[in-house]
């Protein structure tokens, strides 16, 4: 027994030669990857600088201060041709945000309606929703945008033959015209009342929840909320003397003067984006509702909850956990897809900045980088919020 080694290298694995040592290998690979990547960027940078010098393009962001000299079809902020290229960026960005924001709201509403309709007991409703989803999501979005823009909106009658409702709303191939609300003095109070109402609803919900936990008594939160959000602003509106008037669009010789209007490009883009994304959202909603096991519904019935309560307190919270992550990625898709505006000339970020501004200045690298940075920031922000939400919603298991 004594001659058996109790320590020393006998039972230890011998150290492998460095070219077989995983740790050494890993470091070599990583250094190699960094070198290759560095060389790659270095070459690109050199080539780009050489190419730009040859073409006489100066680098840098100085071009943003120069006057743009081109008009933009639609702008949410004051803009004219003497403004700078930097301002075209802002105009485009705001137009993108506008269409994405409206599109997300409309697509969510339509998508939830369709998703629930697909699960309807009524055979006709369920089949119609299925046909809608299967048709719309299998046709390219760009084709749908073209269809609405070229085959539908541009085929509308001209201004003189506008389709009109009571001489207040006009629809023609120049867009949709409607009365423009003019807010008089003191209308600010109505906005303040609206904010107060929202704050009151939040507090009310919290209080009702606490009371429910404490005493078991329910409070009709829903009706009270509607009362608050409609009643408070209405009271404020009447209190300051109803300072609201409308400016109607007026049919003149060749144009409609005054009023407010939506350009057909925006209508076509918004409509196509909404319909397309809604088809995907419908599938997500349907899958989310189906993911809640039937036992949950039965259990809540057994507890004596009403149908509406079952839906509100048991099914929807659990379905939302499944629905929200893919829903967010659909919102991201919608935002990115809004860049298809370029094809029909709606002045979004890509059309204005990556299109016209790039063509005029030739600053390809800066402009492409700025545009991509905008979209990247939006997606990373949304992913970040999503991850936080996911962490909060994830099932807490024993």
């Amino acid at each position: 027994m004594a001659d058996q080694p109790t320590s020393g290298g006998g039972l230890q694995p011998s150290k492998p030669p460095p070219w077989n040592d995983p740790a050494v290998r890993s470091i070599v690979f990583q250094v190699l990857a960094l070198v290759v990547l560095g060389w790659f960027f270095w070459t690109i940078l050199n080539n780009t600088l050489a190419n730009m010098e040859r073409r006489g393009i100066s680098t840098g962001f100085a071009f943003l201060d120069r006057a743009a000299g081109f008009g933009i079809l639609m702008s949410l902020i004051p803009y004219d041709e003497s403004n700078s290229y930097g301002r075209t960026f802002v105009v485009g960005l705001l137009n993108t945000v506008l269409v994405a924001f409206l599109g997300i709201i409309l697509a969510t509403v339509l998508g939830f309606v369709l998703g629930v309709a697909r699960l309807s007991n009524n055979w006709v409703i369920a089949k119609l929703a299925t046909v809608y989803v299967e048709v719309v999501r299998n046709i390219p979005l760009l084709l749908q945008i073209f269809f609405w823009y070229i085959a539908v909106l541009q085929a509308l009658p001209g201004i003189r033959q506008s389709i009109t409702v009571g001489d207040a709303f006009y629809l023609n191939n120049r867009g949709f015209f409607f009365p423009k609300p003019i807010f008089g003095d003191g209308f600010g109070l109505v906005w303040i009342a609206l904010i107060v109402a929202v704050a009151a609803i939040v507090c009310l919900r919290k209080w009702a929840r606490q009371r429910l936990d404490r005493t078991g008594q329910q409070f009709p939160v829903f009706y009270a909320s509607i009362g608050l959000i409609v009643g408070l602003p209405l009271l404020a509106f009447l209190a300051v003397g109803a300072p609201l008037s409308f400016e109607f669009a007026e049919l003149q010789r060749f144009r409609l003067a005054g009023g407010a209007s939506v350009i057909p490009e925006l209508m076509a883009l918004l409509w196509a984006l909404t319909m397309y994304t809604a088809a995907f959202i419908a599938e997500i909603v349907r899958a989310g509702i189906l993911a809640v096991s039937h036992g949950q519904t039965e259990a809540s019935r057994a507890l004596g909850l009403k149908n509406s309560q079952t839906l509100q307190l048991v099914v929807i919270p659990q379905a939302m956990r499944v629905i929200i992550p893919p829903l967010t990625s659909q919102y991201l898709n919608l935002t990115k897809n809004s860049s298809l505006a370029t094809a029909i000339g709606y002045p979004d970020l890509v059309a204005v900045f990556m299109g016209t501004t790039l063509n005029q200045t030739g600053q390809a690298v800066e402009i492409v980088a700025m545009t991509m940075a905008v979209y990247l920031t939006i997606s990373l922000l949304i992913s970040l919020v999503m991850n936080i939400y996911n962490r909060r919603m994830a099932l807490v298991e024993r």
């Binding site: 007991n121 979005l141 084709l143 073209f146 298809l340 997606s379 990373l380």
Partner: protein, 366 residues
């Protein structure tokens, strides 16, 4: 004296709960609200269906050669018939179009067996589809060898271009995507960071900006004198974009493989690449075939975007044909045709992927 109790035979269910009447009562007229919906929606559907059928079939014009054949009442399918060749082949020379047809035929012949469970040589055909087929088709379409006349890519167009773009996009993106997915799960921080950055960069931006980038920035990146044609630039852009999405799909498959498989491969003494190639990837890729088909559908629809940088696939062809002054008011007909072509492909593929999902989805439910 006792008699055994004889149960009387069960009565048939009430007539109103079985058969067509029962079905209608529970699916169409279960409540009064449901009945209202059924009636109103049916009437609206029938009306619109009638309008569309009337426009597209009953009042449509099919005979003739030019605008004068269309009386303007229904659809003017003469336009689609007249331009059909253009929608399928683009500007590909008439005399050489058999080459495109051979490519279509080979594609169909290689894909067809994949839809059947017990088709012979399924695996071999699959490999040919991914490796030999692109080379053969490339030579066929481009020409310039084996006595075939050279046809430049600026003559390519229509459905043929759509298929080339989506096929190359997916086949080139698959290996890159697999490498990126492996890199993202690597234990080396530098490799992982590079892969994550690459994937998130391409996934975060719209395809249009990628195509713009490929068409305006790529020439700047290359040394002076080298120049790509438009198609190749678009293909590079699409491949980069698609490989990021592919990487995420493959990553899903890698994550679904239990840890024991990795450990078992290591215990057998397999190195990283061999354990991936022999143990992990065969299982992971099989799991993600439906996901790959779904990305392919998305790519197939996204190929329409190349019309913005001036390539004319099906939609681009239609778009340029309807602004031709030789034809008036044919936008709806053109778009219907294009929509039909895309829909057939996408719907077919999505059905295939759903069937696959059902087939592969075995034994995972408790």
């Amino acid at each position: 004296m006792t008699t055994a109790w004889q149960p009387s035979p069960s009565l048939p269910p009430p007539a109103s709960t079985v058969g067509a009447v029962g079905w209608a009562r529970s699916n169409l007229f279960s409540t009064w609200l449901s009945s209202v919906f059924t009636v109103v929606l049916s009437l609206v559907t029938v009306y619109f269906l009638w309008q569309i059928l009337d426009w597209g079939i009953f009042s449509a014009d099919l005979a003739g050669k030019d605008q004068s054949a269309c009386d303007g009442d229904g659809a003017c399918w003469v336009f689609v018939k007249d331009r059909f060749n253009f929608f399928i082949y683009g500007f590909y020379p008439d005399a050489e179009q058999w080459r495109v047809n051979v490519m279509f035929f080979l594609l169909a012949a290689l894909i067809f067996p994949q839809f059947f469970e017990n088709a012979p040589y399924k695996k071999a055909l699959g490999w040919i589809f991914l490796t030999v087929y692109p080379v053969v088709s490339g030579v066929l379409l481009l020409g310039g060898a084996f006595g075939l006349e050279f046809v430049d890519t600026d003559k390519w167009g229509g459905l043929m271009l759509t298929l080339v773009l989506s096929y190359v996009g997916i086949v080139a993106a698959l290996p890159i995507g697999i490498l990126l997915a492996l890199g993202r799960r690597s234990e080396m921080p530098v490799i992982r960071t590079i892969c994550v950055a690459f994937i998130e960069l391409w996934r975060g931006v719209p395809l249009i900006s990628v195509l713009f980038m490929a068409s305006v920035m790529l020439p700047l990146f290359l040394p002076e004198g080298t120049n790509f044609n438009k198609l190749l630039r678009a293909l590079i852009g699409i491949t980069m974009f698609q490989s990021a999405y592919m990487a995420e799909v493959v990553r899903g498959g890698l994550q679904a493989i239990p840890r024991g498989q990795y450990e078992a491969a290591a215990a057998l003494g397999l190195g990283y690449w061999r354990s991936m190639w022999l143990v992990i990837l065969p299982q992971a890729l099989k799991l993600v075939i439906p996901g790959i088909v779904n990305t392919f559908i998305a790519l197939f629809k996204d190929t329409t975007l190349v019309l913005i940088i001036g390539l004319f696939e099906v939609l681009g062809g239609v778009q340029s044909a309807i602004i031709d002054p030789a034809w008036q008011n044919v936008a709806a007909e053109g778009f219907f045709f294009a929509a039909f072509v895309y829909w057939i492909f996408c719907f077919g593929m999505s059905r295939y992927s759903q069937a696959l999902e059902r087939k592969l989805d075995t034994g995972h439910h408790r």
